[in-house]
Assembly symmetry: C2
Amino acid sequence: MGVIRIPFDEVRLHLKNVLLAYGCPEDKADKTAHEMTRNSLEGVYTHGINRFVRLVRNIEDGILKPEQNPVIVSGSGAIMRVDGQLGLGVPNAWFCMGEAIRLAGQYGIGLVALKNTNHWMRAATYGYQACDAGMAAVCFTNTIPNMPTWGAVDSRIGNNPLVLAFPRKGGHLITDMAMSQFSYGALELARLRGRQMEIDAGFDMDGNLTKDPDSVIRSQRILPTGYWKGAALSFMLDIFAGALSEGNTVSGVGKLEGDEHGVSQVFLAIDYKKMVPEETAASIVEQAVLDLLASKKAEGTRRIIYTGELAEEYREENSRNGIPVDERVWEEIMALKA
Amino acid sequence: MGVIRIPFDEVRLHLKNVLLAYGCPEDKADKTAHEMTRNSLEGVYTHGINRFVRLVRNIEDGILKPEQNPVIVSGSGAIMRVDGQLGLGVPNAWFCMGEAIRLAGQYGIGLVALKNTNHWMRAATYGYQACDAGMAAVCFTNTIPNMPTWGAVDSRIGNNPLVLAFPRKGGHLITDMAMSQFSYGALELARLRGRQMEIDAGFDMDGNLTKDPDSVIRSQRILPTGYWKGAALSFMLDIFAGALSEGNTVSGVGKLEGDEHGVSQVFLAIDYKKMVPEETAASIVEQAVLDLLASKKAEGTRRIIYTGELAEEYREENSRNGIPVDERVWEEIMALKA
């Protein structure tokens, strides 16, 4: 099976039509289709077109209720708690980061905690949302249990992606990192290609660290990023997400039947211009980027990048040539009602 | 040389008297001596008694100005910017987390960014401060350039410790993690003992990942925690610290002559009780801890712990038996004027 190239608008429109056919209201179908297409446009294929059929299955299974709206449950000053009512993950998260931005416009900082929501797809989306509004942001989500904590064999913590984002004229600075060193998707891909990972990817059945994707897939002992450090950070992000939202922690998400749903998320926006002149902050950021990019390359390094730089390049290339889509995936999508 | 055990109060009083003799005002001498002694009490020896002589040298060198007070520079609503005026790092940071807690009491969340400060010693200190006030917290600092970014050979990013903290009756949940997998101190100790690290610690002179501490010390290519992920997170923390405080980024800290000083820090407190009933949050947190501790141990694992648990145990043991202090270190401290 080959890879075909499809223009952004063609993908976006088709995904939207499918979502409308599956009962999504117009605004939510539009937002979800736009962001999922954008994810593929910017090289985040795992959370773009490739994941679309799974989202539709979640609607069919009744664990994603596309007609539901996020509801503000409680709040005070610059903090707010929202119930996602198991609605679409992308518009739910977008709503919450929007509220965090609004609160930050008023108080300098805003925090929104969201419970009972569905997969937000690409974590960075909400960092970009804040950056485009001129604000710095932090956001994170919890997940199903998919990783053992340090010293354990059974999966009781999540890979809980974390985003830090800061606006920059020449390209926003965005870190979007899951708490596992590699996703099972990346391990699966390497296994299919008969490749070893370049660094430790997890433990084998005998409890030894290994670069072999097949051994890790069999043991289900994927490695926290930074070993014990990522395990601890993952746990704390889950504590924040669950307790601030009064929602499920990873453990609770794991107890729900069916595909992952009912996750908890936290959105934080900072209107730093209220305490630092915008041009001063921009100059500090630019100097830091230039200093980083002036690093001396190690042998074998093609170039040094800043975090978020590659998304810009994928966008440029895929805007010009169309988004690369696996033919088989596109056929599956075309087979959905629309 | 052996290790001696000294009671908490004896250490604390002596450190305080030294600080007074070196021109520290009473309240700042008391706070700094208390927290540095507590760090050793709770097993964080690197940022306790062992670091005290270096702090006194910084005063002698004029890069730490013990008589200076933190000054509020600007702010709006729930955010604030503070100039540390190169004063003592511990009371400066304590003041800022205190202000973040005060703002959170008013707005639900508070953020304080601090510039021109000195080493805050143990990052977790300010997480405990917030937890003891019933609040969740995040804080981080930047440092001198001490780590190459991903793919680089020269050190242009910092190990920028990050703390996440959530209050809990049975022992606060605290993660305190530097962005390097190991500190140079840990590598030095392993080298002296002729030991290899258990996992990759950095690169050797030929650019290969290695567990050999000596090779990493020689190449000065220490490993970011989580490889490329820790490099990116370190950079973003630096961007936040420098831009929000209008202070030095890692690059700027590296340009200052002498020992590390003039760093930037961020303090965030969340009064989550304003949106979630305290008992509900406590119950969510407790369930998550119990679920984690119920993990099935891997072969060779003595037990599974939650993040922050070991500090409690060190405190108990060292309170009972006295704080273990290297005789040579204590002699050096006793030789300081007091």
